[in-house]
């Protein structure tokens, strides 16, 4: 997981997609980009997880998917599994907490589509 420093523009070079946008309708536009920035207006608004899943699994988007907006350290395990590979944490968050949050689980009960595409998981 790549951490984008808080002072950096997280949208630079990326197609910014609002979290109420149907990403499948943007298939053509997305093809022209190497990075997409998804948005968490509130950290408890989970729409962008499904958007990332559809980008990876349905549109086979192989570029960077960034998490922007209210991104908290404890979201990291979810973000990674849903196909995000870059985050800009909210300015008050500690990167050390986010990295630690990634370490609690080594295995999972289920697969989400981005993991299936990557590993051919059995379930």
């Amino acid at each position: 997981m790549q951490f984008i420093p808080p002072e950096q523009d997280a949208l630079a070079g990326a197609l910014a997609i609002a979290n109420d946008t149907d990403v499948l309708a943007l298939a053509d536009e997305i093809r022209g980009h190497t990075a997409v920035a998804l948005h968490f207006p509130k950290w408890t608004d989970g729409r962008a997880y499904s958007q990332a899943v559809l980008l990876r699994a349905r549109l086979r988007f192989a570029g960077e998917i960034r998490a922007t907006g209210e991104v908290l350290a404890d979201m990291l395990p979810l973000l990674r599994r849903c196909g995000f590979d870059a985050v800009q944490l909210r300015a008050d968050q500690q990167q050390a907490h986010a990295e630690r949050a990634l370490g609690f689980f080594s295995t999972h009960y289920q697969s989400v589509p981005p993991e299936r595409a990557a590993t051919g998981a059995t379930r």
Binding site: D22, W43, T44, D45, G46, R47, Y49, S50, Q51, V53, A57, R58, L72, D74, P77, L78, R81, C82, Q94, H97, R100, A101, F104, F105, S106, T107, H108, Y109, Q110, S111, V112, P113, R116, A117, G120, A121, T122, R123
Partner: protein, 567 residues
């Protein structure tokens, strides 16, 4: 019962460690209340009137005697406070309609220690709260009911595993409840759930699911609508994934009261169905999408075999005892295996709120399970405990032992076997108290002959419109409402959970303006007397209420108002 694997154990311990880390950051001031709340909620920790409330998951209601003993230990050692009235000092648990157990007095500082104690017996509070997929519930008679078509427990376990810490669906618009049953009779109130699953066999004998979606209680009671008549069992996780993805993307997030999937289903209608079908088709077309495999199913199903049972012997001849006969009539249920019975331990008895058990009683119930039921218990949707594997020749001995423990009230399915939420005594959301109302009604109807004469009836009490006490589906429903800071109660009649006895699922109909708390027992009595006067031979309360409509009940209840004026 399902047997935890090393993987399951490791997973629960990892979750406990993750929670401890979050709690410590919170206690150090590094994780503010607002941001800690959703994290603790997804581990079952609410903050209520007196202390945090812990809701412990009892997956599909299956509980071992060993687990119940550990819950007793938690009640005794951690669910405590030093001050307050005796009833406010803790030391007890409360079984819920969703087959879980709640503690009310555990200090937050001890919460991580309690998670470790739960993990010792393969338990946790994962996803018992929060806007995620909650504990999967099922029929308390799963695997033992004579009318069962397919045993739902292996599928419930597969659903538990699939939904546990699903990263995409951890922050849905609102909570999400799935119930599953596989018998002719629906004992799991599936029509009232976000997703209601019915296991069926098609004409070729293949197993699949009838899937209904969009049921729910709360401010807007809605009965689930059928989405698919037959989803092959191998595809059920993929089908549910499609439903929940559509909900996650399109469910409303601007208004918590309109955020449940029932609102989306109603607003979108056919478009919702099309969206789900499109998503399901896309998943099915992707070769990477896993279907459930027979080997996987067999591995899980292996945990749900019949436990080694003492051989059933012929019934010993006992001197007939009316009290024993009555208990057999109400608390003993037919079993799939000849010579065995299922027995309900009533948690509806004088002096204790519905569903409550003290630490000592938990140990008493565990001992009964060990002696009479292969060490297994079930938590029922009606907030009782059930022993699933009782040899018929042991019934008399069990009855005597259950009486000793205060578990033998012969009232299952009767008026005093009521469902009630904890209400305003304990819950911070409640508008009114449930427990004193339940106690007053139980006292009013304490005569067993009268109770048996009134017969089968579902009385459900909720302390607020969140409907944890399922008032909508009660044959008689009582809803606590707040007016000008005082407690009032709205009565409904003819609601149904969808069981054969209750008829097609439906919310009850209101009978007039709210009643004052001290009018409620009189009003309930007036409603019951109306039924007794009007019933035709053999007619149950709910049938009379449906036949007559709410008006005669309203008139009778109005006639006993004292503090409130009839409208």
């Amino acid at each position: 019962m399902y047997r935890y694997t090393d993987f399951d154990r490791q997973f629960v311990r990892a979750r406990a460690a993750q929670y401890r880390d979050q709690l410590e950051r919170h206690l150090r001031g590094e994780l503010p209340d607002d941001e800690f709340r959703p994290l603790r909620l997804q581990n079952g920790w609410y903050v209520q009137r007196h202390a945090p409330m812990l809701r412990v998951a009892v997956p599909y209601g299956e509980l071992s005697a060993r687990q119940l003993r550990q819950l007793a230990r938690i009640a005794r050692e951690h669910d405590l406070q030093d001050e307050g009235l005796p009833t406010q000092r803790g030391g007890f648990g409360h079984f819920t309609t969703r087959q879980n157990l709640q503690f009310n007095w555990i200090p937050l500082q001890r919460s991580a220690d309690v998670m470790d104690l739960l993990a010792e017996v393969d338990m946790h509070g994962i996803q018992t709260s929060g806007n995620c997929i909650r504990n999967i519930t099922t029929d308390a008679l799963a695997g033992i009911a004579p009318d069962e078509v397919v045993d739902p427990r292996p599928y419930a376990e597969l659903l538990r595993q699939w939904s546990t810490l699903h990263p995409e669906f951890a922050f849905l618009p609102r909570k999400f409840k799935i119930a599953i049953h596989g018998a002719a009779e629906d004992r799991a109130a599936t029509a009232w759930h976000d997703i209601g699953l019915t296991l069926v066999k098609n004409t070729a004998g293949a197993v699949g699911f009838r899937v209904a979606v969009g049921g729910g209680m709360g401010r807007t009671p809605v009965i689930a609508t059928q989405l698919n008549a037959f989803v092959p069992w191998q595809d059920i996780l993929v089908y549910i994934e499609a439903i929940v993805r559509v909900y996650n993307l399109h469910g409303r997030r601007d208004n918590a009261y309109k955020a449940r999937i029932k609102i989306l289903v109603r607003a979108e209608g056919q478009r919702f169905v099309d969206d789900v079908n499109r998503e399901y088709a896309a998943l099915a077309a992707d070769p990477a999408t896993p279907r459930l495999q027979q080997a996987e199913f067999d591995r899980v199903a292996a945990g749900f075999t019949v436990p080694p049972l003492a051989e059933a012997r012929s019934d010993p001849v006992h001197e007939p005892l009316p009290a024993f006969e009555r208990w057999q009539q109400r608390n003993v249920h037919a079993h799939r295996i000849s010579g065995f019975r299922a027995v309900t331990l009533s948690l509806k008895r004088p002096g204790l709120p519905p569903g409550d058990v003290t630490a000592e009683q938990m140990e008493g119930a565990a001992a009964l399970a060990e002696r009479f039921s292969a060490g297994e218990l079930r938590v029922t949707h009606d907030q009782n405990l059930l022993l699933p594997w009782v040899p018929a020749h042991e019934l008399r001995a069990l009855w005597l032992a259950a009486r000793e423990g205060g578990f033998a009230t012969p009232n299952i399915g009767l008026l005093t076997d009521m469902i009630a939420c904890p209400g305003g005594d304990l819950c911070a959301l409640a508008n009114a108290r449930s427990i004193p109302i339940a106690a007053a009604i139980a006292e009013r109807f304490d005569d067993l002959d009268r109770l048996h004469d009134i017969g089968d009836i579902d009385l459900h009490i909720s302390g607020c419109i969140n409907s944890c006490g399922h008032h909508h589906s009660g044959h008689i429903g009582i809803l606590g409402v707040d007016k000008d800071g005082s407690e009032w109660y709205q009565l409904t009649v003819a609601g149904s959970d969808g069981s054969t006895l209750s008829g097609a699922p439906a919310p009850g109909k209101v009978i007039g303006p709210s009643f004052a708390a001290d009018e409620v027992p009189d009003a309930i009595e007036a409603v019951i007397e109306t039924y007794l006067a009007e019933r035709s031979s053999g007619e149950r309360f709910v049938d009379t209420a449906r036949r007559l409509g709410p008006l005669p009940f309203r008139r009778a209840a109005d006639a006993v108002r004292r503090a409130t004026a009839s409208a």
